[in-house]
């Protein structure tokens, strides 16, 4: 029972990381109608920046996290500007291939700068752990902070898109770019900002992910990136609560699968979920179908 509780918390914590990454996928998809497969690699860059900040430049953890967020935000804007914006009118296949290209570019840049050897990441949010039930249940500070960060981010983004002028403009752009432009909304600037927010979140996800699973190498971001994409599709891509639910459920499926089914099959289960969702409900759990009225 206590074992189960421990798995449950780990699952929610891992799922929270997926949810934060899935948000980036989902927001960008909602606005730019493209799958930014380089998103996972922005996570990796964020993790490396925070790693360097701590290890080489001796900065305090809080500054390291802020620095990672800043660098990734700028990186997101630059990637959109240079790689995706020129393809705004192109077919989705060209954009997809470009995104895969950017992903490889980022991985190889990381390889060039930091080398292929895995770095041992020192947790930025490690403040010990809580022991309950006479030492049978350990809850690490990483688990707590990851879940808390996820909740804070979800609430903040929901308020942002629901209450602020900028956030509403983002929703308008995601529905109809032409109509949004006719309202006086600068569509290009809005897309740019979405990439900035998504990439900033990716930096946070990178720090949290590597704090919990402390192996950092140039491919660190790709697997969580793809799983988060699965989470986004699972929950309903384009939806903020969808990213939350999809992420958490996927984290739980992965951890429970590894614990109770088979360690090797954990990842396979995750992707089996993707296939089943695509077959049964292609719009995801919270995905909406829009009916046009005449």
């Amino acid at each position: 029972m206590i074992q189960f509780l421990s798995y449950l918390l780990n699952g929610i914590s891992l799922g929270s990381v997926y949810a934060i990454i899935a948000l980036g996928y989902s927001m960008v998809y909602g606005i730019a109608k493209m799958l930014n497969f380089a998103h996972g690699d922005v996570i990796m860059i964020g993790a490396y920046i925070s790693f360097c900040a701590i290890q080489y430049w001796n900065l305090p953890p809080a500054i390291a996290i802020v620095l990672a967020i800043l660098v990734c935000t700028v990186l997101g804007i630059v990637i959109e500007r240079l790689a995706y914006k020129p393809l705004r009118q192109a077919t989705s296949l060209s954009v997809l291939i470009t995104a895969i290209g950017v992903s490889w570019l980022l991985q190889n840049i990381a390889l060039l700068i930091w080398g292929a050897n895995p770095k041992s990441y020192q947790s930025l949010v490690g403040f010990g752990s809580l022991t309950l039930f006479d030492g049978q249940l350990h809850i690490t500070s990483e688990t707590f902070i990851t879940i808390a960060a996820n909740i804070v981010i979800m609430i903040a983004l929901t308020l942002f898109t629901g209450k602020t002028k900028m956030g509403k403009a983002m929703r308008a752009v995601s529905e109809d770019k032409g109509a949004a432009e006719l309202m006086g909304i600068n569509v290009n600037a809005t897309i740019s900002m979405t990439f900035a927010i998504g990439s900033g979140l990716a930096a946070i996800a990178g720090v949290l992910l590597c704090s919990a699973y402390p192996v950092l190498m140039p491919t660190t971001g790709s697997m969580p990136g793809i799983k988060a994409f699965t989470a986004a599709v699972f929950g309903g891509i384009g939806s903020i609560p969808g990213a939350l639910i999809g992420g958490i459920l996927l984290g739980l499926i992965e951890i429970m699968g590894k614990a109770y089914v088979s360690t090797e099959l954990g990842d396979a289960l995750v992707f089996a979920v993707l296939i089943i969702v695509l077959l049964v409900k292609p719009t995801g759990l919270l995905g909406k179908k829009i009916h046009e009225k005449v």
């Binding site: 509403k168 529905e175 109809d176 032409g178 109509a179 432009e181 006719l182 309202m183 909304i185 600068n186």
Partner: protein, 234 residues
């Protein structure tokens, strides 16, 4: 005084020459209509004037300033609004949010007063202000699209097929509102397939055929023109 002046406008979709040298003008206080069959280039013309499409040649001047090629979002603050074909309200946003988007370029302090104005003109929208726009009926969505365009306080309001898909009684209602808006001081450029209705409300009209203007003049005279009657009034 001419508020909008379009000269020798050429617009292409890729290699298709959709608008072939269209010129027209709209004077302050007028209702001007562009009529013509499907595919004549009416919507393309409006979309180009509004800044959604870039013309290859030609001039568009609005209150004396050249705006050809300027993106739509930069034109809106100068007092031009387009209520697009098919209404294109933001389906997943509430009525109020749609209207707020319409006032996107206005200072925050002026939004409340404009909302009141729109709600007075369209009481139906006030009743439903919390409802998601996608759940409104077609007529209500048209009112919302017009209300949304009015939120930017346009001097020139362009309407693209406001009667499309609406029951006759609603069409009457929409045209009454267009007349009221005009009397309240808004200049109107109207694109319609329903030539009868459009000519009955307009001061002047232009007839578009495959990207060219083939006739222009006083709306009431055109209504009695044999060619126009035969082609568009049945």
């Amino acid at each position: 005084m001419s508020m909008l002046k379009v000269e020798d406008l050429h617009v292409y979709y890729g290699s298709i020459h959709a608008i072939k040298g269209v010129s027209f003008e709209v004077n302050e206080g007028e209702i001007v209509t562009l009529i013509g069959a499907n595919g004549a280039g009416k919507s393309t013309t409006l979309n180009t004037v509004a800044g959604l499409l870039k013309p290859r040649h030609g001039h568009i001047s609005f209150e004396g300033a050249e705006i050809a090629g300027t993106p739509a979002s930069k034109i809106v603050p100068h007092g031009m609004a387009l209520c697009p074909e098919g209404r294109r309200v933001f389906q997943q946003m509430t009525v109020r949010e749609n209207l707020e988007m319409g006032g996107y370029t206005r200072p925050a302090g002026e939004i409340a007063a404009s909302l009141d104005d729109v709600f007075t003109r369209f009481p139906r929208l006030k009743e439903r202000h919390r409802q998601v726009a996608g759940t409104l009926s077609g007529g209500e969505q048209q009112m919302l699209a017009m209300g949304r365009a009015l939120m930017s306080k346009p001097k020139l309001l362009m309407l693209d097929e406001p009667s499309m898909g609406l029951a006759p009684i609603l069409v009457e209602q929409i045209f009454d509102i267009i007349g009221e808006l005009n009397r309240a001081g808004t200049t109107i450029l109207l694109v319609e397939q329903n030539a009868q209705m459009a000519l009955s409300i307009a001061n002047r009209a232009y007839v578009l055929e495959t990207g060219n203007i083939v006739k222009e003049g006083d709306a009431h005279l055109l209504m009695n023109d044999d060619d126009v009657r035969k082609a568009y009034l049945g």
